[in-house]
Symmetry: C2
Subunit: 210 residues, 2 copies
């Protein structure tokens, strides 16, 4: 399968399908349909069928999808049929919250190491994690062969830390700092900034009163 | 201006332009170009010009954009030339982090009220905020005329809380719970789930080794 030919917008919907299917599994469900998935997600059934058809034939006409089978297929497609160790950089409020986040479980990721550069924080613990000195990040990340990072440092430090992460083998960064990062080809960045989400909604909000 | 005619994907880029322009302002800069914005954001200059042209003429050929003027225009377009009070529901780790988040400042939003349903948490404080009993949410949200919420409750409670929020006047919800919400027309939801972001990257990661 040539992943380059799959539109990124389709890739972006696959985790939503997987999340919904895993929820259905936890509800004890066995079979679903593109109609039901679509209603839960606010996506048309046709779009869901089209997205999934890019990867093969997962359902039978008239009988719907086996939830367990489709879950396994999506986990394989998204490469979360394994567990990715992650490094968290920045042990502030956000770093704390993501280090202790329970939502990673059974979804392909786990926090392995936490770093900060503040002397007062180094050696302290977040849950089970010792906060390590960022000076030790290169050797520890290389040794553990960690390829995924969550970045929760101030915007002013985000690019510098990113460069260190990339230099030491990290290829996927979820960036909580409100700034865009420059990374070389083959390194992926996703952004999460609450204000970007909020402003995207406030655009529409006030307009009802205009 | 008919906001319905602006593609939502364009709306989604405006907060990124505004964030970058505000950063440039803080750097003491006065003039920028679609080329420079594009390089900082990884978006083509042509795309940026096209997006902005939907809202008017903001730059002069050859002289670029006044950063301050374009910032003001975007703040007005996104309706963040005012401050939106927000309610946080859920005072767990994520609720703590977003209640104390410093990144809202100067970007159009501020936390006004925090709620939880756990007896042990009610009356405790997060920074300057008292954690209120969710039973009082309807009256307090209505009285304060709050229209924006950040939802940081477990997935199993997210829809119930959403229904309460909507019933009491909330029209924009940033949902941190890993589940899709059903809301009536005219209510907006944005989602932030770290695993969705991470899986979107792991799709590409392993493929380099396939």
């Amino acid at each position: 399968m040539d992943r380059v030919t799959i539109p990124d917008i389709v890739v972006g919907r696959l985790p939503l399908y997987l999340r919904t299917l895993q929820l259905m599994l936890s509800e004890g469900r066995q079979v679903t349909s593109s109609q039901e998935l679509g209603e839960r997600l606010g996506i048309s059934a046709a779009q869901i069928r089209k997205d999934l058809s890019q990867f093969g034939e997962f359902g039978k006409q008239g009988t719907g999808y086996s939830i367990e089978f489709l879950t396994d297929q999506l986990r394989s497609i998204l490469h979360v049929d394994k567990i990715w160790d992650m490094v968290v950089v920045g042990a502030g409020d956000i770093g704390h919250a993501i280090s202790r986040y329970l939502g990673f479980s059974n979804r392909g990721f786990r926090v392995a190491l936490v770093f900060d550069n503040e002397t007062a924080k180094i050696g302290q613990k977040i849950g089970d994690f010792v906060i390590h000195d960022i000076a030790n990040l290169p050797s520890m990340v290389q040794k553990a062969n960690i390829q995924v990072a969550m970045l929760a440092v101030p915007a002013s430090q985000a690019q510098v830390v990113t460069d260190i992460l990339v230099k030491n083998g990290v290829r996927a960064i979820l960036n909580y700092a409100p700034i865009n990062l420059n990374v070389p080809k083959g390194v992926y960045v996703q952004y999460t900034d609450p204000v970007v989400h909020l402003q995207r909604m406030s655009f529409y909000l006030e307009s009802m009163n205009d």
